[in-house]
Symmetry: C2
Subunit: 144 residues, 2 copies
């Protein structure tokens, strides 16, 4: 059998990966920190949070109804819920104006801005690789 001991990936693979990678990824992280981080990521890694982050990153400041319009398919309930959680986590700043009819503006906090920046490469990856994923899916479905 031809077991490759170390080179799981070719130099080319690694080079392409590096092009998505900005800062150095720490090799050894404290297991406790690792676990904490996973809990955090798990918390943020849901459908709507990422899309809302993306939208606010793109648009800057949006009213509730504008967000509802741009985040296609979201219900009012989920929009409210997700925005509250993001506000609680310090990612989003909510500003209400005491007027009639009411007006509420949402925007990313500095913390949310840095998270949005960290997500940039993921969005770029998605733009550049969505056809590769589509191809992989049809290939997978066709075999067997």
């Amino acid at each position: 059998m031809s077991i490759q001991q170390k080179p799981v990936f070719t130099a080319d693979d690694v080079a392409r990966a590096e092009s998505y990678k900005a800062r150095d990824y720490p090799d050894n992280v404290d297991p406790k920190v690792e676990d904490l981080v996973r809990q955090m990521i798990s918390g943020f890694a849901d459908k709507w949070t990422v899309v809302i982050l993306d939208t606010l990153w793109d648009e800057g400041v949006l009213r509730f109804s504008d967000l509802a319009r741009r985040v296609t398919g979201i219900s009012q309930k989920m929009l409210t819920q997700t925005l509250r959680r993001m506000e609680r986590d310090g990612l989003v700043i909510r500003k209400t104006y005491a007027c009639v009819p009411p007006k509420v503006e949402y925007r990313l906090s500095p913390l949310g801005l840095t998270l949005g920046a960290a997500f940039c490469n993921v969005w770029i990856w998605a733009v550049e690789n969505h056809d590769a994923v589509a191809k992989a899916r049809t290939a997978f479905d066709d075999e067997d």
Copy 2:
């Protein structure tokens, strides 16, 4: 959007955001592409996918049972399901050995490797900001 244009944030905020940002984020993306990308992101943005991606990124090659051990809290069912979806999307390569007892190895594909690389900054963000998030939460819960 280019974050320099809108004066919503201070120069310091922007500088900190830039430190997480590697490649330039495209200003104008085709709305249809934008929508496709959001569907993709929504698909990948679930709890287990991200954690498995992280684990395989860290460890390289893992057997099914090793993955189950490292991805704390996941059920066998979800592990199987998520790995299948990731394999179908072309992120993960599954290699079975015809022996008794059976042995199955999982590793990231080149495509999965690039996605993992794109996620690096998000993980770094999580490591560096999890205390900020914790503080935001207690602050939010204390008021009212």
